[in-house]
């Protein structure tokens, strides 16, 4: 089947899922198979960042995998046929499971997989491998926000409102999120709050997003103690790992100054009295001594948020969290504190206000709903819920008792691989849509674990660092080569459409899973048509929290063609038949099947998804980073992204336009620190933690605290920062503490020189960064 002349699809990268048109180019007219153009879609409003504009390059990456690869006798990866490769996989799985049990084969999925692939992968693990051990890299990014939202609201939909709603708010509090670099077109939605001076960004760095708050000056109308603030908002620059203290102090001010929306709290929440008391101990001056943000500035921000809240006559306020606060050993507590503050101000479940988590990965939302999480079944169901098991088992055509129980969450799973003393450790691992060698914390330990496996099967598009360690590498389709659905950061279910044929022997994971099921002797059905898989997914999700049962590819296509507003889950199938409805005088639709649920752009307007319909507030408190500074590691390390790269860089390092701008890892440090340590701009610097060390070029910048260094995480090898990050995890969500650890910082080549930091090197420009405001 020839691809359509132009495919309306979405960007292959982040959860903003910018709308783009893909026009196939005839061979020879261009080195690229398609031309990318932005579309006017509600999240990107016609914009694309450089990653999106250059995404077509991914399709013709020079080292694109086009055949299966097998590890040869000499240890090298060599091309193989599908039959050969799948035989090796089947033999390996059978051997391992016979010797060590079903759980000895594990599966590691990804938040970039389509809903259909994520669903099929979970089903494959539970019905064919029948292993408990499946989890995914979303554990690295969304687990804490998900845990806190589920606990508070009974539902985890990243943004429980359309992104465009942000535009009308008076204030937006962004915690640990650098959207100006991670999803640039989204900052269009911040314009309204900025124009009213209401963008508040909490970040240890003066990031590009902080830059949107405007130039900081001492301003009239702002208490002097609050210090300089921007004309478009305020920057709070806490010590790494203390965002929770900022939130507790903000809530303290809201409570003590009588700014709580008491009517809302009484009507729509439970447990607030405990929370109220718990923040009595966090007066701003005490918070200041822990988080390093001046007390009056905290008060100023609390009042600003309160003034924007509907109960005080404001146009609305949003509190949004990102990975900067969630990737923490107290990530769930930090998100909970954010939700508590939002509830105190009466924001969630009100049009024009709310709390949301800004999902990161392309399908980070859908990826956590369809059953590739260790503790979940499709529809965001709990795997230990008998009713959920029975429902899903019926859709799958299996006995509920054959579905395994909860498995190990991602970090524990990866850690277990190298635990050679344990008989229960997994010996085989499937990796789909994830590059754990670069993206998992304490990466050296991860590599050791992967090397200890008897069988590592990696499905990927390019030879990623993880694929290069595999026994079997299976080449799979990517973005513009496949059909499917994604669920964006706002819970909108959207269509990914095929624009070009996949090269060589590349196959879809849906096909691979079906083949493996067949060869492993399973009689469970694995359709390979994404539309059919979606229909099954929809049935499996029916009645679950994330209910897609009223959706199909056809309905999504029709809605888009008609210029509809989009469909946000839950979208349940109409429960009673249409004639029953009409008999009761309710809404009917002459088109029959279109008597459909309109979707749920704002799910909490009437009630929360908890049993009693009220949001649960839960008192939390600050503990601090698991790996805090100490004499032999006195500097904080924070990690994050740069605009030009995405995650482990498996995609973006293969795009020369991106690679040219940011070719290598770097360490951002304050000139004051550089001078003290004798590290010049451009010099190589080594960071050492309890887990390992990493080297990169120093970049001086006054946009970071002098007690902190920053490093982006997109590189492997010597510059792979996750070799030093900690794999300590949040006790509730299992999410690792990527965002803060303690390091020793020194120039490369001075490992023996422990006592003599360099003398000041004379005067120099303090800010060597490229961004100059004009």
């Amino acid at each position: 089947m020839a691809p359509p002349p132009q495919a309306q699809s979405h960007c292959p990268y982040c959860a903003l899922q910018c709308g783009m048109s893909l026009t196939p180019l005839p061979d020879g007219r261009s080195s690229l198979p398609v031309e990318v153009a932005p579309r006017d879609f509600p999240t990107n409003k016609g914009g694309l960042c450089q990653k999106g504009w250059t995404s077509a390059t991914l399709l013709s990456a020079p080292d694109r995998l086009t055949t299966p690869l097998l590890r040869g006798e000499g240890g090298e990866l060599r091309p193989a046929t599908w039959d050969e490769a799948l035989d090796v996989v089947v033999a390996g799985v059978t051997r391992i499971q016979e010797a060590h049990g079903r759980d000895a084969v594990a599966v590691f999925g990804g938040g970039g997989l389509t809903n259909e692939k994520a669903y099929a992968l979970g089903k494959f693990a539970r019905t064919v491998l029948r292993t408990a051990n499946i989890d995914y890299n979303g554990r690295f990014c969304m687990a804490s926000a998900a845990a806190a939202s589920n606990r508070a609201f009974g539902m985890d939909r990243g943004l429980p409102f359309p992104l465009a709603d942000l535009g009308g708010a008076d204030a937006i509090l962004l915690l640990g999120s650098n959207v100006a670099e991670t999803m640039p077109p989204s900052v269009q939605h911040l314009a309204g709050a900025r124009s009213r001076g209401g963008l508040v960004v909490v970040d240890p760095r003066r990031s590009a997003t902080v830059g949107l708050t405007g130039d900081a000056e001492v301003r009239a109308g702002v208490p002097t103690g609050a210090g300089p603030v921007g004309d478009q908002g305020v920057h709070l620059q806490p010590v790494p790992g203390t965002d929770l203290v900022v939130l507790l102090a903000l809530l303290h001010v809201v409570v003590t100054e009588g700014l709580v929306d008491e009517e809302y709290v009484a009507a729509r929440t439970t447990g607030f009295d405990d929370v109220r008391r718990s923040v009595a101990a966090w007066w701003p001056e005490r918070a200041e001594t822990v988080c390093g943000v001046p007390a009056e500035r905290l008060r100023h921000v609390a009042r600003l948020l309160a003034a924007a809240s509907p109960s005080r006559g404001g146009a609305g306020a949003y509190l949004l969290t990102g990975r900067g606060v969630e990737q923490s050993s107290q990530g769930t507590a930090t998100v909970t504190a954010t939700i508590n503050l939002a509830l105190a101000l009466g924001l969630p479940g009100r049009a024009g206000s709310g709390y949301g988590a800004i999902t990161g990965q392309g399908n980070g939302q859908g990826g956590r709903e369809h059953g590739q999480k260790a503790d979940q079944l499709p529809g965001y169901r709990k795997i230990d819920d008998p009713a959920a098991r029975a429902h899903v088992a019926a859709v799958w055509g299996v006995d509920p008792d054959t579905i395994p129980g909860p498995g190990m969450p991602a970090v524990k799973l990866l850690r277990s691989l190298g635990d050679t003393g344990s008989a229960a450790r997994p010996r085989g691992l499937f990796v789909h849509g994830s590059n754990v060698v670069v993206s998992a914390p304490n990466a050296d330990r991860v590599v050791a674990g992967l090397r200890a496996l008897d069988l590592l099967v990696v499905c990927d598009v390019v030879p990623s660092e993880t694929a290069l360690l595999a026994d079997v590498v299976l080449p799979v389709t990517q973005w513009a080569e496949e059909e499917g659905t994604m669920t964006s950061l706002e819970g909108r279910v959207i269509r990914r459409r095929r624009a070009v044929a996949a090269p060589g022997e590349v196959r879809s994971e849906l096909w691979i899973l079906a083949e493996l099921a067949r060869r492993l002797g399973s009689d469970v059905a694995f359709p390979t048509d994404a539309a059919v898989v979606f229909d099954e997914l929809a049935r499996a999700s029916a009645g679950g929290v994330a209910d897609y049962s009223g959706l199909s590819h056809a309905r999504l296509d029709a809605d888009e063609a008609a210029g509809g507003p989009g469909l946000f889950w839950p979208v349940p199938a109409p429960a009673p038949a249409p004639d029953e409805l009409s008999a009761r005088g309710e809404r009917t639709d002459s088109r029959g099947a279109d008597t459909s649920h309109p979707g749920t752009p704002r799910p909490f307007l009437d009630r929360f998804a908890t049993v009693d319909g009220r949001a649960r507030t839960i008192a939390v408190d600050h503990v601090g980073p698991s790996d805090d500074v100490r004499p032999d590691a006195p500097i904080y390390l924070v990690t994050g992204r740069v605009l030009q790269h995405y995650q482990s860089g498996a995609q973006t390092h293969r795009v020369s336009e991106l690679e040219r701008i940011v070719p290598d890892a770097f360490v951002e440090l304050h000139p004051v620190l550089g001078v003290r340590l004798g590290i010049d701009e451009g010099e190589r610097v080594r960071l050492t933690s309890r887990r390992g060390h990493v080297e990169a070029v120093a970049r001086w910048s006054d946009r970071i605290r002098p007690d902190t260094v920053f490093m982006p995480f997109h590189w492997s090898g010597a510059g792979s920062v996750n070799r030093v990050t900690t794999d300590a995890t949040d006790p509730v969500s299992g999410m690792p503490e990527f965002k803060v650890c303690a390091v020793d910082v020194r120039p490369v080549g001075s490992e023996e020189d422990v006592s003599a930091p360099g003398e000041p090197q004379g005067s120099r420009s303090a800010d060597s960064s490229m961004e100059v405001s004009v």
């Binding site: 001594t289 822990v290 408190d621 006054d702 490229m770």
Partner: protein, 602 residues
Amino acid sequence: MNRVVVIGGGMVGARFAQDLVARADAAGATVDLTVLGAEEYEPYNRVLLSEVVAGKVDVAAIALPGPDDARVAVRRGTEVIAIDRDARQVVTGEGTYPYDVVVLATGAAARIPQTPGLTDRPGGLPGGAHALRTLDDAREIVAASVNARHAVVVGAGVLGLEAACGLARRGVAVSIVHPGASLMDRQLDTAAGRVVERSLTGLGVRTWTHVRTEHVRVGRDGRVAGLSLRVPDAGASPARDGDGSPDRTHERIVDVDADLLVLACGTVPEAGLARTAGLTVDRGVVVGADLASPDDPRVYAIGDCAQPPEGGSGLVAQGWDQSRRLAESLAARAAAAGAAGQEPAVDDVEHDHPHVRFGEPDRPSMALRLAMSVVTRPVTDLSAPGAPLAAPGADSSSSGTSSASREALGSPRADRSSGTDVVRVKAAGLEIVTMGVCGTRRASDPAHRTVALSDPVSGRHVEVVVADGLLVGATCVGAPDVGADLTATYTRRTPVPADPAHLLLQPVAQAPAPASTPTHMPDRTTVCTCNGVTKGDIVACWHDDGARSVDDVARATRATTGCGGCKDVVCGLVDWLGKADPEQRTDDRSAVSGATGMPTAV
């Protein structure tokens, strides 16, 4: 070992009960805990009373979490009469409570200076005179402030300053009278104190230092009418003798009117029970590093009533830190006793999980989580010479023996104690924080390097004390951002800059001056961040590709096609290029009209 009676249910006593229950759970030990509180109130945050006076905090909002556990019996309004150490029981009016361990958390009372007119009257203080120690005190002061014309605050320690600023905020004329040489002289040296004095003047608070209160004048209605103060003679006021004390030979008496008198003259530990029980009491109940009385290993004291080896600071952070440490050690002992032969579970907890976490079902109490949050820093190599311990009645309630030397403490986390001597004043309009080595009373140490910035006119005074590359003390007045950074540096022991002078200002370089014209903008300047487009790229597409409008530039470079935030700058560049290159200009002015984003070349 498991019957624990806590005497005192305030900020530290209630906290300790929660800490112990949570720690015992974690250690797998059982405890039987009774809290005897004299006050009828649930625990509240005493630290915020000055905020209540200031009208910044609602009284209802200062309640703290109480022990909400079935294993804790709380007896409010129960006055303890005695501790019978022989019978190992606590005697109250309602009965006796046998104990294996008794923990004194009785706190401290406000010190009322012996003054004619104030303390020599039957029936206690005259009307209009109040200490500021309890919720009732705060309520009464707030009520009195409504009609007060002139308030006098006696004592210019932290609490005195906070109370004075709070009353001023309510529109009351306020004077502070202080016996010391300068304001907050426990923490601030004279220069810093003078800066604070200027700031107070700006807030409408009159200050008197070197002042002795001769007597309090009381009207016929039994209410305070004013004070007679002995002050240095105006003409001779700068003259002091060698030790900084005023020259008493040039003094005069000044009468000040006052209808509200707030006494912020420090505190006296509530150590009467311990004294009667035959335990060693100095300023407070003397305890060792393990917080136990040297006379009886079953008796402990924490919080303001205690006098540990390093001295009591009067700061709640110290009491909360003691609460955590004592809870840890008692829980470990209870666990060891309960499971004889087994390794005490608490050790595993300590070493494997320095930050103990619990799943939701056995969530630790709020208090434990608060206790663990106290900023800690190692003190093993910190041996700053100690300031003298506060003599009885020496100073304000929140004053501290700021740099008292510390010895290794007896808890498993001894190396992580302290950092609890940061003093941060809460008073709108005053930004004061001190820590570690500060003030005039510190001993000189050749290893200490002191760097200061004094800027009295703008109300700013910053001093840092550095030793061995670390910040060991600081005083920061009128520079909140700097103060916050200094606190972070101090509590975390972050190495200081090569030149400590960098600590005195926000170490942020000036943002590069915005290019006044595109001519002065370097070619490498990024104009469109979303698409990595530099000024040079835009100039090149004008010259090489013939781009003449913003749309042309967007097509050629993708500038403006991400978030659109650079549109004004690109317009400005196109405009500038057009003016610099008039022949090639197109008629398409619409594309650049409204290009006001940047000044163009003239």
